[in-house]
Amino acid sequence: MNLPELLAPAGDLEKLQIAYLYGADAVYCAGKKYGLRANANNFTIEELRYAVKFAHSLHKKIYVTVNIIFHEKEVEGLEDYLKELDEIGVDAIIASDILVIKKAKELNLKLEVHVSTQASILNGESGLFYKELGVTRLVLAREASIHDIESIKKQTGLELECFIHGAMCTSFSGRCILSNYCTNRDANRGGCAQICRWTFEAEEEKEIFSMTPKDLNLIQYIEQMIKAGVNSFKVEGRMRGIYYIATVILVYRRILDKIRMHNLKEGEVNYYLDILNRCANRDSAPQFIEILPTEKEQYFLGRQELSNQDFLGMVLEYNEKTSEVTLEQRNYFKVGDIVEFFGPKLETFSYQIEEIFDVEDNKIEVANHPKMIVKLKVNTKLNKYDMMRIKVFDKQDYL
């Protein structure tokens, strides 16, 4: 069975490496110019060059977003930038402005061009318009239903990429300039101030108006989407941290692998759904895939976005002779806590902390300093970049 690609976000090199390690087949990121996350760290050209080499050494792919809507003053420099990305060897660019798509073709670049979700594609005719321009992949609007996906696939024959997880705009992506009006920050050039997450007063009403959507989560539709012809499952979150990337990518990796092996159980999906919801700090919903979202797929008053302190530590090294793991602390934990370790080559397992040692091998009761280095005795072999988190859910309860 040919599985679709699992496509992860990466805001910097560390996140990119974690994404690949935890099971992404491809990563998308932005350079310092022309990306819609203008205020993320993003990648210098040298970092991109390194990232491409790293990705290709793993036989994985890397896509670069060139997805702003250009004003006159940004146009100069685009050609050189595209040539540079091509020379570096990025596999594809993700573009929404017709200028970028046409330029990439005129320059006869080797890299592929994918049309961004900003192009709001919901029908096959629109897909064919872009196919005529030479694009090889459509990133569909998040508003696409399963029926739209099937139909667009049939009509265009192009590769289809669909968001399956993460935050989403209230508007069709790209069809909003509330940020421009409320803050003077241009949403379509990477400055979005997320006004759709603010609150409003509605005339003649006492109740506060809100339009914030819950996150997108299509974990229960993966098999259906594969059948509909999706080639790439995309996770949103270039601004998210490594714990989020690792957790989400690993969950979808496991789901996809189980689908390939024809042994995915419903209970497992529910278990993974709980893991995903917990790590995102937000509620999620399937949104548009089957029905038009209602008030239930939005937040109104009373929304709580609790700070998540589940991520306790990252494995730096493991000594097989002494069964000692060295961890970098990320959140408070103490002797007696029940935690679990997870990682790309690890079957997630529970562990009760019996002893904690500092770097000088002194016994301590708590790990309470950010990024402090501590050691634990763990009998199961761990690998660098495995992670330790609070144990909340037990998979056995779902099976």
Partner: protein, 263 residues
């Protein structure tokens, strides 16, 4: 200097009786437009030299239905203003001899992109998200005459969600399909208009670009949603409407890279 030609969105039927030269009416079409309180079926468009306004992002079902409905186009209809690029192909396929005007206001912010679109369409609405200087750079370089905002509310957001219904359902409020929303930090007001195909948030203030003159303009676009006919006529007569309008981004450039203290 050539005479101005205007493209005006029809917001009520009374407008159609105006005896004003150089006006082409733009009819929001039922089932294919968003952000309008009054829409028309294709059969209802009886005024000569009219345009259809199809500003909805079309899903699979909608574009298939549209393909059938466009067969009803009569000689009164000379063109379509649209936002979904899939429409270009179906008009071609049906062999319809119609002017096509691309009106995705947020995508048309530089001359190069506009010229690429002009390879497939007859004209393009210049974005209102840019400065006067940028507008002139575009008008000077465009390969065909363009449509320019003249006096209109700007579509600041278009969502597929029925945001007013959702709000009303959540709080058990009475059903309304338009509402003014106020954002306190920026002191901005937006007019939300909903139909079954989604919700549009317009700027509550109109943008007034009436001072802009240029040879490379096909139409001046007026979208008078929410205005009475006397005021709409006032737009054309050059009356002072500063109490309900401003100049948008003409003299105010947006930015996107934050200063360190803003992060």
């Amino acid at each position: 200097m050539k005479e101005n030609k205007y493209l005006i969105t029809v917001t009520n039927e009374e407008m159609l009786n105006w005896k004003v030269k150089n006006i082409n009416f733009l009819f929001p079409i039922e089932g294919y437009s968003v952000g309008f309180l009054k829409t028309f079926s294709i059969e209802e468009v009886q005024t000569s030299h009219s345009f259809l306004y199809i500003n909805r992002i079309l899903d699979t079902e909608a574009i298939l239905k549209l393909k059938e409905d466009l067969k009803k186009v009569t000689q009164n209809i000379i063109g379509i203003c649209f936002t979904d690029l899939g429409l270009i192909r179906i008009v071609r396929e049906l062999g319809l001899n119609l002017q096509l005007i691309y009106m995705q206001n947020h995508n048309t912010t530089n001359a190069s992109s506009i010229n690429y679109y002009l390879e497939d369409v007859d004209s393009v609405l210049v974005s209102s998200d840019i400065t006067k200087e940028e507008i002139f750079a575009i008008l000077n370089r465009a390969n065909k005459p363009l449509v320019l905002p003249y006096f209109m509310r700007v579509e600041a957001m278009y969502s597929r969600r029925t945001l007013l219904t959702n709000y009303e359902n959540h709080f058990g409020l009475e059903k309304e399909n338009r509402k003014v929303l106020h954002e306190e930090i920026s002191k901005m007001d937006f007019l939300a208009v909903e139909n079954p195909y989604g919700t549009v948030l317009y700027t509550n203030k109109f943008i007034d670009y009436r001072s802009i003159k240029h040879e490379n303009i096909l139409y001046f676009f007026i979208n008078p949603i929410g205005l009475d006919n006397k005021t709409i006529e006032g737009i054309l007569k050059g009356e002072d409407l500063s109490s309900i309008s401003d100049t948008g981004f003409l003299y105010k450039e947006t930015y996107y890279r934050l200063k360190e203290e803003e992060k």
